[in-house]
Amino acid sequence: MLRFALTRFVSLTLSLLIASLVIFAVIEVIPGDPARYMLGINASEDAVAALREQLGLNDSLALRYLDWLGGMLTGDFGLSYTYKVPVSELVMQRLWVSLPLALYALALSTLIAIPVGLIAAARRGSAADYSIMGATQLGIAVPNFWFAMLLVLIFAVTLRWFSAGGFPGWDAGFWLGVKSLTLPAFALALPQASILARVMRSALIETLGEDYIRTARAKGLSRRQATVRHALRNAMIPVLTIIGLQFSFLLAGAIIIENVFYLPGLGRLIFQGITQRDLIVVESLVMLLVFAVILVTFLVDVAYAAVDPRLRRGR
């Protein structure tokens, strides 16, 4: 296990290093001067030049890359150009919106998808199966931002059950925070739940066709017992993969939803960072997201091992 972890660690570090190079290179070639953006249309040339100097934009590329990389290793992500606060502070603030939102959406999607997929697989070919499959097809086809618009229209404007968006902060009370994340979480969860339910169903159907299910039935297990005691855990492997992928997606991919509900999350921070040419914020955030994805992938691998004993000892 240690060797497995070590090998993974080396390749993980290498991936991160390559990722950091790519990110830095891409972001540095984005046209647009942060200093001029900050000072606007009437700024004099020497004011812009002075600001460039102040922001360290006149240093060589290599120097700035190394600076950035070195900073990150010591946990110092630098100072945001526009906000003038440490990037880590900005990120932490936003993370307290994005992370709960991602987890909320993931929980919703999992809680909806697993029972639904289970029912569809167990009653394969029944009316329930067909309606579930039809509904999930629809769920996958609906763009989540459009669904979000509809949710706002129904629940915020017409019914007024929820506010149309915004996030009061956790200080305002836990339930208030949860409430304001509910519509966005549903908007995010719908397509994810549809995908997950389908994966769950097909994985389960596949496992139910395995020989050991027949063995279990020959032992006297009922169809339901065989499904719950034998098929479910084996079917969890593909489901786990999707859950892992979805988490990463939800963390970073909520940009549009965050915009619809004007939530101060990571996605919006990236978007703002790009429009404001706050390069250091963008670089650090993208890097962080890539790191999160790689970490989640690693955790999913570990979770596999927990589910499947065949994977426990090395390779």
Binding site: P31, D33, M38, S44, G166, G169, Q272
Partner: protein, 489 residues
């Protein structure tokens, strides 16, 4: 049944709101300020939060655009117009309790004009040769040449008075002299300010005010409707305003801004260096259609680069009236048929929607356009600095900025020596009547040269709870002065 329930809920909600919000207010803004230091950035959102609320200058803009005393109670100009002596108010202190005196003024002005200054409007301070503290309540400013605009310059948000000890942290925790003190900033969501109990003037009616940032027009609408926002001084989606007009809970405040929205043309490159082509383009444009289509009727047509609410304004819209036939004739005359031009559009709605309409209108007279949407940073780099464009749409929101036409290196590259001389004279002229005449001449010159196609004066369309009074109607500068804002019930 459902309807009854909804209505009851709405009534309950409103009653609750009214009671709870007697002296607090939530102000909606489309853009979040990147930081809160008005001397360190150009973003309008900074001034919209801090101007006249947290920070004050020697002078200030009044709601009608007039220049009023602020931290300076009065000022004198020397005979030759080069020395300004400001008398400061007594008993003014910063929010941290330290007194504001002449040294702070000297520091603020010298900092803004220093060589390594990063002030976005450094030009405002360009003529200053010396700033002295005569005594703790008197400041003398010496200019290299007379400047009738100097009190006007000092009213800008970029010229507010700050303290040396606290300026470094102004980006995140601003400390000024204004009627409100900074309370908190939840990045990405809101800024809260509270009443300054030690304010030198009359204390404001509001105990706290929260600026909430909502970029999306829909969300802004929903938040207004839900009562999450009490006032949205510049509502981001004009197409939704009619909904508020129909609703007695709200008042719609329609005012003017200093924003001349123009179709800027690159005067230095062919074929736009030919005045006939520029004239043709000006005649090809139907302003009312743009105002209706892009701004849903909000906006005043203009024929030159000057705000219609200014007493010196001349209506020159007829010079460049909508006349596609004339446009075609002019193009033929200039030998410029079958033109294809690049139209660069920055992000605001007026530009993006207006651009589509203009493209269609130009097509009618035989000019094809290739639209490129740009972010502000790209627009600044490519269009504004790089001057790599044919046409662009932008609103010039700085007040009284016709002088930009005297800068031949300005992005639209209008180079007219007579006009430059005129503006130079204007700068040193302080007689109001002479100034008015010169302003008129300037307006006519650029209109007749068809430097740019002048579209409309950007309207300021705000939406507010009907029970709020004291809001600015117009926007002589980008600010949300909350000093006199109060609830009526």
């Amino acid at each position: 049944m459902t309807k009854l329930f909804t209505t009851a809920a709405a009534v309950a909600l409103m009653a609750g709101t009214a009671l709870a919000q007697q002296d607090t207010i939530t102000v909606g803004m489309q853009l979040e300020p990147p930081n809160l230091d008005p001397t360190g950035g150009a973003a309008a959102a900074i001034d919209e939060v801090v101007y006249a609320n947290i920070f004050e200058g020697l002078t200030r803009f009044g709601p009608d655009g007039s220049i009023q005393p602020a931290l300076a109670s009065e000022w004198e100009v020397s005979e030759d117009g080069t020395v300004y002596t400001f008398t400061l108010r007594d008993g003014v202190s910063f929010h941290d309790g330290t007194a504001m005196d002449a040294e702070d003024v000297v520091f603020s002005l010298n900092r803004a004009r220093a060589e390594d200054s990063t002030n976005a409007q450094k030009a405002l301070f360009a003529g200053i040769t010396e700033v002295e503290a005569v005594d703790p309540l008197t400041v003398r400013v010496t200019l290299s040449e007379p400047n009738g605009n100097f009190p006007f310059n000092m009213a800008w948000g970029d010229a507010v008075i700050v303290a040396e000890e606290t300026i470094e942290q102004a980006a995140t925790t601003p400390i000024g002299t204004g009627p409100f003190t900074f309370t908190e900033w939840v990045q990405g969501d809101h800024v809260t300010i509270s009443r300054n109990e030690n304010y030198w003037g009359e204390a404001p009616a509001l105990a706290t005010a929260t600026f909430k940032f909502i970029a999306d027009g829909n969300a802004a609408f929903a938040a207004m409707m839900a009562g999450d926002i009490d006032v949205f001084p510049v509502f981001p989606a004009p197409e939704l305003v009619s909904q508020f007009e129909a609703d007695p809970r709200f008042t719609v405040i329609e005012g003017s801004t200093e924003g001349e929205t123009i179709l800027a043309m690159n005067n230095a490159v062919a074929p736009l260096d030919d005045v006939k082509v520029r004239e043709a383009i000006s005649h090809a444009i139907n302003r009312q259609e743009i105002i209706d289509g892009a701004m849903f009727g909000y906006g005043t047509p203009i024929g030159t680069h000057f705000a219609p609410h200014n007493p010196d304004y001349v209506d020159l819209t007829e010079t460049s009236n909508y006349d596609p036939e004339a446009a075609k004739a002019l193009l033929a005359e200039a030998g410029a048929e079958g033109l294809s031009l690049r139209l660069m559009l920055p992000p605001p709605t007026y530009a993006r929607r207006g651009g589509e309409i203009i493209a269609a209108q130009l097509r009618e007279v035989g000019i094809e356009t290739e639209i490129t949407n740009l972010e502000w940073a790209q627009w600044l780099e490519q269009v504004f600095t790089g001057k790599d464009f044919d046409l662009t749409i932008v609103s010039h929101t700085e007040p009284a900025d016709i002088n930009i036409y005297a800068r031949p290196d300005y992005y639209f590259q209008y180079d007219n020596a007579d006009f430059q001389a005129l503006i130079a004279d204007l700068a040193v002229e302080s007689d109001p009547e002479a100034r008015a005449a010169m302003n008129k001449e300037a307006q006519e010159t650029i209109a007749n040269d068809f430097v740019n196609a002048y579209l409309f004066q950007l309207a300021k369309v705000g939406v507010a709870n009907a029970n709020i009074e004291g809001l600015w109607e117009n926007a002589p500068t980008q600010a949300n002065d909350l000093t006199d804002v109060r609830w009526t019930e």
